[in-house]
Amino acid sequence: MTNSYFNIEHLLELTNNDINFVKELAGVFCETIPPMADEMQIACDESNWQAVSQLAHKLKPSIDTMRIESIRDDILQIESRTKQNIELHTVPALVTKVCEVVYLTRDELMASFLK
């Protein structure tokens, strides 16, 4: 699948081609992941690196599962750098990027499954 933020083939494989459950997952993603990304953005704005690290840790499995390739490495970097307190100046840009892609993914999911 090209020009897509997430990998529908992988989702179908994960759910044994259960399209209804894919729709349910899309709904859960749209409800829970963007608010979590928002929280990370706020924590980042406040330079609360411990909170950023924890939220990145929480976001990681969902981003992995959805195969949102454009930010898979970024979320790992955010977690790792905030946990180790290294290269913190690079973190805000990464967080902003992750948040943007999460919202774009949400829009795409809503358009595809939740119309």
């Binding site: 044994n16 459950f21 997952l25 829970t32 992941i33 924890q54 969902s62 992995d64 599962t65």
Partner: protein, 456 residues
């Protein structure tokens, strides 16, 4: 074995990931899966005693460690699988040491690994459930008011003792003639005590060669003696947390009695060939048909062990002292035999009852069972009559029960009985009965006594 439905709680604060895991585990229709996104919500539902719980290591309202100890305390049988985003071996080992069943890292293989872990646990859970249900069945079987039949005063006294013995851990010594049901009393105590879900292990001391008894009771290490090819767990360890029933304790060798006394006092055993002390928590019930005090006086049983084992003494009365119980038990065995062999129900005639009541049953209940089973086979109609009651004993003494006999007749039969018991050893019989051997020889010569062969 039919698959048992199992309840799985998934605790994961990421609702998306939680849904994914729940969906995957729900693919098996035997899995009843519930999702929780906070520690609080999960703890509120812990009273449901889930079979398996998957825990996220870091939850916003509780750490994995805290939750683990709460689950262990409130639902100790629940199996715990941790699912964590942290690939940290130290944490994983620490959790596994604390009794967690698996530690799975969140990655592409998580759901497959979780599936395998749950399937492995399912087998354990199903076996445990089957074992529990079998133990309950056995416990029901040994509801002593149902299995020990009788209304006579002597047996009611035994019921009272069983009831008292079941409520505590006191050592119990059961005394009674062969066939009176000593093992049944021991099982009734065990299966009505708080140890009922733990093992009941019975050892017949008389049936095991004395050279083997020590390793049978305490186990042995590999190479402890010739033929000890591997480590073996003894009966004490097998009965850990449960009850060990030592039948025919009077037959135990004196040297082993000393070891048994030490084990009972120290509550720890040492396997043969090992120096390691193993703590044990075992309730002891012993039984014998011998008069142990008499054995102590004759130096065949250690006095200190006798007093250690005495505990609550229960004397199981012989059948001949249980009056009308004989008929009640006979009816029970008749019904059981007819049911098992698809025969029509049979009743005892008055004459048959009289014959049973007059017999003295040296083999007690075991003998009564054989007699009534044979009577069921011998009787063609639905009634068991006196001729069907075949009292198998050849003893002259027993055959004259209920007959009018003269003193001379009685004496003759008594001597005849002793001759049979002592293999026609005239000298020994004379000594036992405190009569002159010439009296016996004279009676043999006069054909008053039947002797197939005799020595001297």
């Amino acid at each position: 074995m039919k698959p048992t439905p199992i309840l799985i709680h998934i605790v994961e604060d990421d609702a998306f990931y939680c849904s994914l895991l729940a969906h995957h585990l729900s693919l098996n229709p035997e899995h009843h899966v519930k999702k929780f996104t906070s520690a609080r919500a999960f703890l509120d539902a812990l009273h449901e005693k889930p079979d398996i719980v998957t825990l996220d290591y870091s939850l916003p309202d509780g750490t994995g460690d805290q939750l683990l100890s709460q689950v262990k305390e409130l639902s100790p049988d629940t199996k715990i699988i941790f699912i964590s985003g942290q690939n940290d071996i130290k944490i994983a080992i620490d959790l596994l040491k604390k009794g967690v069943h698996d530690y799975i890292v969140k990655d592409d293989d998580t759901k497959e690994r979780l599936w395998i872990a749950v399937e492995h646990l399912r087998e354990t859970i199903e076996l445990k459930k089957e074992l529990d249900s079998l133990r309950n069945e056995v416990a029901k079987k040994y509801d002593f008011q149902k299995v020990m039949i009788g209304n006579s005063d002597p047996i009611r006294q035994v019921f009272q003792w069983i009831d008292k013995a079941s409520k505590t851990n006191i050592t119990v010594s059961i005394n009674g003639e062969t066939g009176t049901g000593k093992e049944l009393v021991a099982k009734s105590i065990h299966f009505n005590s708080f140890r009922k879900k733990q093992p009941f292990v019975a050892v017949n001391v008389a049936a095991i060669p004395k050279e083997l008894l020590e390793s049978e009771l305490f186990g042995h290490e590999k190479g402890a003696f010739t033929g000890a090819a591997g480590r073996r767990i003894g009966k004490f360890e097998e009965a850990h947390k449960g009850t060990l029933f030592l039948d025919e304790i009077g037959e135990m060798d004196l040297s082993l009695q000393a070891k048994l006394l030490r084990v009972l006092q120290e509550k720890e055993i040492t396997r043969v060939g090992s120096n390691q002390l193993i703590p044990i928590d075992v309730r002891i019930i012993v039984a014998t048909h011998k008069n142990l005090l008499h054995e102590v006086k004759n130096g065949r049983f250690r006095e200190d062990l006798y007093y250690r084992l005495l505990g609550l003494p229960i004397v199981v009365p012989p059948l001949r002292e249980r009056g009308n119980d004989i008929i009640l038990i006979a009816r029970f065995f008749i019904d059981q035999f007819c049911r098992e062999n698809s025969l029509q129900s049979k009743t005892l005639t008055v004459e048959a009852k009289k014959k049973l009541m007059l017999y003295n049953f040296p083999g007690n209940i075991r003998e009564l069972k054989s007699i009534v089973e044979l009577a069921c086979v011998m009787s063609d109609e639905n009634e068991i009559d006196a001729p069907h009651i075949n009292i198998s004993s050849n003893s002259y003494i027993e055959k004259m029960n209920g007959e009018d006999v003269t003193l001379r007749d009685f004496t003759t039969r008594l001597i005849q009985h002793y001759l049979e018991v002592y293999q026609y050893d005239v000298l020994k019989v004379a000594e036992k009965l405190d009569i002159g051997k010439s009296t016996i020889y004279r009676m043999i010569k006069n054909n008053e006594l039947v002797v197939s062969k005799y020595q001297n």
